[in-house]
Amino acid sequence: MKIAVDAMGGDNAPEEIVKGIELARDAYPDMEFQLYGPKERIQALVTNEERIEIVHAASVIAMEDEPVRAVRSKKDSSIVLAATAVKEGRADAFFSAGNTGAVLAAGLFIIGRIKGIDRPGLTTTLPVVTGDATGSFTMLDVGANADYKLTNLEQFAVLGNFYGQTVMGIEKPKVGLLNNGTEADKGDKVHRAAFEQLSSMENINFIGNVESRELLNGAADVVVTDGFTGNATLKAIEGTALSMLSLIRSKIMASTKAKMGYVLSRNAFHEVGQVMDYSKHGGAVLLGLKGAVVKTHGSAKAETVRNTMGQIHQIVASGLIAKTVAYFEDAKATTTDAEK
């Protein structure tokens, strides 16, 4: 499988991106990489060119560039060239740690949507932290679209269900609708209609509404939400975790007794850190496109890049995209037949 990599995206690019790709190359013998960026600069960083092709990209889309305009005007940028490789079938997946809006725009406008999908959903995986659980759950849309319709939520449920089955390896993922209460009549008009709609879909294991407070307790394997709510929820989870860590740290440092207690419970703290380490969960996937598009944190270091390649390996090897295309083609054929 071939992966088109935006070598210039992110705070630590290109050094950490290249380092991470070399780690992934060593870990996955069936992966080949195309690194898009200024050729001489990238070449100087690569220590071994086995299964690594460097493709010259003269420009870079900066973090502050307006995404759609940049994707349409910077045709020689690393993001646009890498996405074009997927569009033209020269690569199976597009990876970047760069400007999120530009990655989404390149995915949407260059690679394009699967026929039958109105809007792609940005999909992320988060840890389940209850008890001894070491699992995770998947949530979409976490911010690709600010506006939404009922049909988008339905499609996110189908996309998330496929992701749960093929990438997370769960036979019948529990699909929940993020809402402000578990009862069927909770939420705005669209969410109430979505509850009805998802309840009637036989191909998904819909467990009803889930509240944001239960997400990290493993309430559902796949959490369906609109992009506005999903993005706000994701940031609240990340922000709360960081604030709690900072509060605990300040209280430990405030007294000698607490410091002594920390020494004794250091291993437990380390384990908490391991569970919450987002770098292990790879990147966010833009589901619903004709190729795999994965965006990782802008601050990603080599280890995160390597882990994200593991996730991409799973996505490509599982045939997720082809299965999704086939599903929506069948759905369209069934609708057309029913209309005749």
Binding site: R72, S73, L108, F109, R113, R119
Partner: protein, 83 residues
Amino acid sequence: MTKQEIFDKIGSIIEDRFEVEHDKVTNDLNFRTDLDADSIDFVEFIMELEDTFGAEISDDDAEKLNTIGQVVDYVYDHQETAE
């Protein structure tokens, strides 16, 4: 390419992309008011036109295109400039 040929190509893109019936595709059809399309749909449509006709349509020009007739004229004029 004649204006009719350009119209036919654009018409089939519109029918396919926006699920519009063939007889509704006329020069007066307005993308912004007659179709259930938002700004994302419109950028996708413009980029498909660029791929189909091999011409680049700047954002400033794209903003002025509202009807099929205007797009046909635009593509026709820019094709002549290119030749």
